[in-house]
């Protein structure tokens, strides 16, 4: 029963209203900071740098009045899977680089310091990524987010690339994600009521699995196409003409708060990267 219930729970970017610094920042600043944070998270692979990252993100979550526990709760059903992968990685990673010590050697199972570091750091990275995403999407409305994306992409239009259209594609995708999820939940409910076994046919029954998936996905595509036709007409009747000459109800201006925050972000990123490349473990 978990399979269709989880479809309704997709919440990429649920806005939590508030008036903290994070809520008031310009979407462009938050988006750029988010991208910067992703780069830093991917680069940092030492314990010290990741601990610092987690501390910084927890402080930011506190400042934005977001609950880290709730953010981590969104992992929910995926947790056993993540734990299993972590365990497999730990047991079968092998020795790794030469400076790594072997902690346990038991037949094919070799636990090394490098293996432990990889597992611990990937879990910390995952938490950092979740916090970074929550800080962006829980404090920014979808409309502000897409407008920010569009503004960041607008230099592309100057060299002939469709910046506005790209942002529009993203906005439509985010808008329809929960609707299509709901739709898929209903299709799968209807199938269950008429006798489809919820459990798939097992690993070896490729054809059965494919057929079951096809009955679930083909209606989804056909319905999505019907929706796209309707939405195109709706946009054209309301005089949507693409990016050129389109104005916004609010034209956000960068304030001194935005500038200070950007500088703070850059400074913290510099420190984390410096620690990541320092000889600290």
């Amino acid at each position: 029963m978990a399979s269709f219930a989880s479809l309704r729970n997709i919440s990429i970017g649920q806005y939590h209203p508030g008036d903290t610094v994070f809520h008031l920042l310009d979407a462009r600043v938050k988006l750029s900071a988010f991208i910067l944070a992703l780069v830093v998270i991917v680069i940092a692979s030492s314990y010290s740098a990741n601990i610092l990252l987690l501390v910084l993100f927890l402080a930011a979550m506190y400042a934005a009045r977001l609950s880290p526990r709730e953010t981590l709760a969104s992992l929910g059903p995926a947790l056993p899977l993540i734990a299993m992968f972590a365990l497999l990685q730990l047991l079968f990673y092998g020795q790794g680089p030469a400076e790594s010590r072997i902690v346990l050697d038991w037949g094919p199972v070799i636990i090394s310091t490098a293996g432990i570091q990889l597992v611990v750091v990937s879990v910390m990275r995952l938490f950092s990524l979740l916090f970074a995403t929550a800080l962006l999407t829980n404090t920014t409305t979808v409309s502000a987010l897409t407008q920010g994306m569009e503004q960041l992409l607008s230099p592309l239009s100057r060299i002939g690339l469709p910046g506005h259209e790209l942002a529009m594609v993203g906005a439509i995708a985010l808008r329809f994600l929960p609707i299509l999820g709901e739709q898929m939940a209903v299709i799968s409910q209807a199938q269950m009521l008429r006798g489809v076994d919820e459990e798939s046919g097992g690993r070896w029954r490729i054809v059965q699995n494919a057929r079951r998936l096809a009955t679930l996905i083909v209606p989804l595509f056909v319905d999505a196409y019907r929706r796209s036709g309707e939405m195109t007409e709706a946009m054209l009747t309301r005089c949507y003409r693409g990016g050129r000459g389109r104005t916004h109800l609010y034209e956000p201006k960068l304030s001194s708060r935005d500038l200070t925050s950007s500088l703070v972000c850059l400074a913290f990123s510099g420190i984390v990267i410096w620690i990541a490349y320092s000889p600290l473990p």
Binding site: M1, F4, R8, N9, S11, Q14, H16, S67, E70, A73, S74, G76, Q183, V186, I187, Q189, A190, Q191, M192, L193, R194, G195, V196, T215, L216, V218, P219, V222, D223
Partner: protein, 282 residues
């Protein structure tokens, strides 16, 4: 009509518990549906009607608070059964096979019917909903019109011959002919097969015309349960659920306001006419 087919008591449901988006749809829902009756479930949008329907067909299972019993079977322990058939509001979400015939045959096929027995069953279901077997059996499901899709979806559920049929706003947005077709199907099932029907609807005229009993749901709580003549007459309670009284009752209420002494419990236009006729000749 002595034994109850559905018995729900003090049911609670929270969507996405433990997350920021947690939302309680049911607080204290109870209802009893007599076997072989048509019972209507009404309430404002968001009252929890559809959530309740998911419990009845076993797609949701009662956990801590509340109980759902179908034919005296506790649904906390049972898997989605074939006792209860559910027709959703949007039929295009229920059709998933390529051809209409295969889609309707899907359920019975899973129940073990095959060959000519299966074909007969599909033919019976299609006849019930007024789809011509030869004309529609090989049509592609996605090429059907909205009304045809709805009928095909209904046929797919009927083909399994469930003991209980739950129709979740299955007549909303249909043209009058389509509505009366579904009404006829409901009556035939009740009278000929003894099927118990739960009709989820906000169309008070429809409920007045068809239902043997009415349950009112308001913000996740059952606020009234009983015979249509009593429940549908309570104007303030209906208004609280963003509902109104059925047309015959409203006509008589207008007549009452105009100075006639009339009883306001008519469920059909015929009854209202009779009442007015007598008032005029009193």
């Amino acid at each position: 009509m002595s034994q109850s087919a559905i018995q729900v008591s003090n049911l609670q449901h929270i969507y996405m518990p433990g997350t920021p988006e947690a939302f309680q749809a049911l607080y204290d829902a109870s209802l009893t549906v007599a076997q072989g009756s048509i019972t209507a479930l009404a309430g404002e949008s968001g009252a929890g009607k559809s959530t309740l329907a998911l419990y009845l067909c076993g797609l949701l299972r009662p956990t801590k608070v509340g109980q759902v019993r179908i034919f005296d079977r506790d649904m906390a322990q049972s898997s989605p059964g074939r006792d209860v058939g559910l027709v959703f509001q949007y039929p295009q979400q229920q059709l998933f096979e390529r051809y209409v015939g295969d889609d309707i045959a899907y359920g019975p096929r899973k129940m073990g019917l095959a060959d000519t027995t299966l074909t007969e069953r599909v033919g019976w279901a299609m006849e019930m909903v007024g789809l011509d077997f030869e004309a529609f059996v090989d049509r592609e499901t996605f090429s059907l019109s909205g009304g045809e899709m709805r009928r095909a979806a209904l046929a797919g559920v009927l083909a399994m011959q469930p003991h209980i049929l739950v129709l979740d706003e299955a007549t909303t947005g249909l043209d009058p002919a389509g509505q009366s077709l579904i009404h006829r199907v409901m009556r035939e099932l009740r009278d000929n097969l003894g099927t118990t029907v739960l009709l989820i609807s906000n169309d008070m005229d429809e409920i007045a015309e068809l239902a043997d009993a009415v349950v009112l749901l308001h913000q996740g709580r059952t606020i009234a349960e009983g015979a249509p003549r009593e429940v549908l007459a309570e104007e303030t309670r209906l208004n609280a659920c963003s509902l109104v009284r059925p047309t015959p009752m409203r006509i008589l209420a207008e007549a009452g306001r105009a100075g006639f002494t009339v009883s306001q419990s008519a469920l059909s236009l015929d009854e209202a006419e009779e009442e007015l006729w007598q008032a005029l000749h009193r």
